[in-house]
């Protein structure tokens, strides 16, 4: 990591998980910002590279974890923007202090994704840790829910929700899709489960294993239903079926949704083309070609496609993202780029 006086300095709190490492990787090679601090409660004082040996060519041996401390970080005049790669609940504690000190906060946790305190409690089984900040937070997927000038608290969308809203949101806004009988099946790579010493995530338990989990009420459902409801102009329920597949990265999402009367595959593609034809990080595949996680692996791209089944009247829509990039750290950096006035693709593949 080069040190440069002129570069904007950013920090990361909580970088021990998969998306934390991905964030360090992207930011330490970013041409316009300097990753000046990475904080950790348990690793303070240790070289960051020791925890992320795969990044050895990017990280100097003298770049050490600072202590995690919301107050100290809030007072750190050096750092303008903080990424929070923390568990929900904990992230809000940092956000409170950092926001109070005028910092920009880009939060990868779920703490500010929901507009409703009841929904937060229902899905996260706890009172919201910072309800006073809820109104400040902006839920962002740059292509459809962009950040605004002056935003100070960004809630990055979750991984599954990103793979779902990029194809669906413009279609609901355009009134092409039914809000009944919506079924979403997603398959995630194992990194989606986090970096844990847990037998369930052991190689021999996950290799050759494809299976569902967390149905019917996975936490991400709260965010999916809230946002699709806004797009459609009315609240509705969806069936969300998350699964794990034996691969490290990627989310493959397949959505079955009835077309409304008058909707057609041509109209669907028209909407997508208007919305996304110029967006670098969305690729619209021809009808009949299906999104593939391998092809977005390591990129900040979301591939989307759709077919219409005249027999059932349904659209079947597929999408693919890299859960750690477009589903987490890449999208967070894309948002930072926009907030700081850079090209949104700066430092991203």
């Amino acid at each position: 990591m080069e040190s440069s006086e002129k570069k904007i300095k950013v920090g990361i709190t909580g970088a021990s998980g998969h998306s934390g490492v991905e964030l360090v990787k992207i930011l330490s090679a970013h041409p316009m910002v300097e990753l000046a601090k990475v904080t950790s409660r348990s690793l303070a004082g240790q070289a960051v590279v020791d925890s992320m040996p795969g990044l050895a060519h990017l990280l100097g041996a003298d770049f050490k974890f600072s202590a995690s401390d919301p107050k100290a970080q809030a007072e750190d005049a050096d750092i303008d923007a903080w990424f929070l790669a923390l568990p929900h609940g904990v992230a809000a504690e940092y956000a409170k202090e950092l926001i109070a000190a005028g910092k920009t906060v880009i939060d990868l946790s779920a703490d500010f994704r929901l507009g409703s305190l009841e929904r937060y409690k229902e899905f996260y089984k706890a009172d919201h840790p910072a309800p006073e900040l809820l109104r400040m937070g902006r839920y962002v997927i740059p292509e459809i829910l962009p950040p605004q000038r002056g935003d100070k608290l960004i809630a990055c969308a979750g991984c599954y929700p990103t793979s779902i809203q990029i194809p669906l949101t413009p279609l609901y806004r355009a009134g092409l899709l039914s809000t009944e009988h919506v079924v979403i099946d997603s398959y995630s790579g194992v990194s989606g489960g986090g970096k844990k010493a847990d037998l369930f995530y052991a190689y021999c338990e996950r290799n050759e294993s494809a299976r569902g989990y967390g149905m019917p009420k996975h936490r991400h459902l709260s965010e999916i239903e809230e946002q699709l409801g806004i797009a459609a102009g009315r609240e509705f329920f969806v069936q969300f079926n998350p699964h794990l597949a034996p691969m490290t990265r990627g989310i493959s999402t397949t959505i079955t949704v009835p077309a409304v009367a008058g909707a057609s595959i041509e109209k669907l593609y028209d909407v997508w083309n208007k919305e996304y034809a110029l967006r670098r990080f969305v690729r619209i595949l021809p009808s009949g070609v299906f999104a593939d996680t391998l092809l977005v692996n390591g990129t900040n791209r979301c591939d989307i496609s759709a077919v219409h089944d005249s027999r059932t009247g349904n659209f079947v829509i597929t999408s693919a993202i890299d859960n750690l990039v477009k589903g987490a750290s890449g999208q967070a950096v894309q948002i930072m780029n926009i907030l700081l006035g850079f090209d949104e693709a700066c430092g991203l593949l």
Copy 2:
């Protein structure tokens, strides 16, 4: 392979694919039958073990492929039952001769799975090669559509259809499920695509790749809709979304289906328990535990489970099978066992 005067002799036609090898593996270790012949058009005269080196401990070096020849096989007095592990279209040509000669035919292809010639033509893009045999053929999944004494022509159910009908058929028969808005997402291991020198199936194209294919009208849909229609007492359409996951074996199926008024998760499990509690090859998982391909890998078992979502009114049902065993060769041997009067599990794991 031991030779024994008393054992019933069986043969396989077409054993170069994944399910052919699995069939040779199971039958050559079967305690009650002798795998006496394996025929091949292109490999006649070569040692079988040379094509299946993984079975070297089961196959003698002098066990050679015989020539594939429907007439000669029909006249072979030695062999009582033939397994056809051939492409559709080709299988029927063999079946005609073998049936005419009074042999028992257990067909793993799609040729006799459908009752309707129109449906065959619609999905397989060809006229049915042996319409005169259609009435003789019996479509079998032993647990729900068992073979009958005297059956001579068995159409083994396809892999996806097996993973779908085992959970659904008893529930449709019991009237618990809606016939509208049925959505089935399945993820298959790569062996489901066959054994082909095709770049699409290359390791580096499929590793880390999860993706859909063949939507919205995969061939297996014909069989799924025909059979579920019979179970429900009325024809209906389903949305079937097949995918590939980066693993060799296994099918993970997740079905979203509206419950009819009055249906409940308790009633659903009651039906399953009545149907399957005593069946060796179906395991009913508790509600909230989800079927996992790894746990059925190498076995002839189908694991099933369900949850009810009170928000949407849907049941979400998961199942898992090994596509090459319960989805193909294991089920074929299970059927043979029943036809020959053996324990259905004989020679199977």
Copy 3:
């Protein structure tokens, strides 16, 4: 599991690891013995199937873990033979009691593999827990170091050592190989590392990872050098380089060893053919064909092959086994079969 008065009853102590599950799988389907007890310290009273859901079709729900207790097991008149699938050190504690009570003990741990107490201490960093039993124990690989009538304490060879000694032992006995500059590189599937909630064994840490570990003095080296020394008639050192590859099962071993003057590839194959041509569980591949873990996956077979390099004067020898079958549980059952007078392949693939 069928209960049968006439079958010999066997038990397993310690079945929570990968080889324990494999042992339960093989023994519960074995046609000649009854798996009557599986003991566990922590799981006593729980259904065995709950820990091994993949074996649901083999295990009745009422088959429960008994308490692990060396004395009680020694007094259990029902069980004639015990398999110990325990860590080294612990296994010996059970062996003491069981041997004193006249039981047959088939130990999968390292406790009785070494003839030398010093070597045990050097490699296992502890005093031997039962030196008085050392002379009773017989180190067994059935094809080259068979059990003898009346043996009561069997030390099953380790996984790596099995893959190494099957090709090398007959060649050292025949005097074809140098004892200098022997280099052995082995790649093991991840199950070789055991079933642990350890971040190192997490899916995302091992997928796409090939790497060495434990060099230059892996514990199995003690057993390899002791046994090869006996075969060669003189002690010598070997370089043993163990690695992990991203797969669940299998050991691929490649051995580089100088040929002695007068040795040739023909003589090497002559020795192997004499030794192994009639052995069901060894397959001799032609020179130039290399052993492949996939082809022995799930079997009790060891595939071997060799080439001679006239430029260097070395033989390069490859072997492949399934580490959980021929490298552990399958070989243990093969040994039991021999001790009990059954066909050695009984119940094995």
Copy 4:
């Protein structure tokens, strides 16, 4: 791909393989050069992105394959440097024309890697296609065999040879290693075998498969022995045992080599530290930590480590690279960076 008047323009001939795609990926995102042409015999006129859908965010739809034509490319005044990602034999045909026209040629094939025509014929079974160019060609691994100002024809080292020479060359130059009894075992990801519609490379054939191939005389051996001979100051033979592991990318190499009298692990690390401490793309791991392909995946780095075994007198050295990056396309771009006067890491991770 941005078009920029000021950027140096480069071209690629033959980009259908894995390393061709990797080259397009790196060069199309490179900040200092413009990838102006990609030529192909069979795909001329088609959009490049159609063959490389994974790079859709980097490649404009109007960027098309040009026709491959050595003469036309030689006359193309626009392009200053050409990368050849072609089979050996074919590459030389292009090199002849391009060199004659004064272009810079960075050849990823084996055509100019060997100094000896006899060796070429021995290992590649054909007369060298352009012996007159052999003297012009420079064999390059930037860290140990750097390009020189004015070089026009670069032979990029092979993938295995790179993983072997980076650790060994400085040690041979320093006289620490014996030239006898050198044994090199390498495990490569499947992409090393190329992108072919070949059953051997099918997913179900390579998954769960670890195995050797091409022993004892793999083509890369020619290059390894020639270069190590130069480093050591005398010709010698090595045993090179290449293998495939079930992963897409990566080479894990383990080298067993006797230390000369007086050599020690400290001296070995001293040599490495002097040579590599400041090199961005070599990471020296502490003795006892072993190189891991996962940690270099997607990077241009080579990780190296060593232990000394006092029992055998051998050093055991491990290294890891990404075969498609440091083993091919990344290293080619690193060389281009040096030739063009950029930072060697420009555009590389």
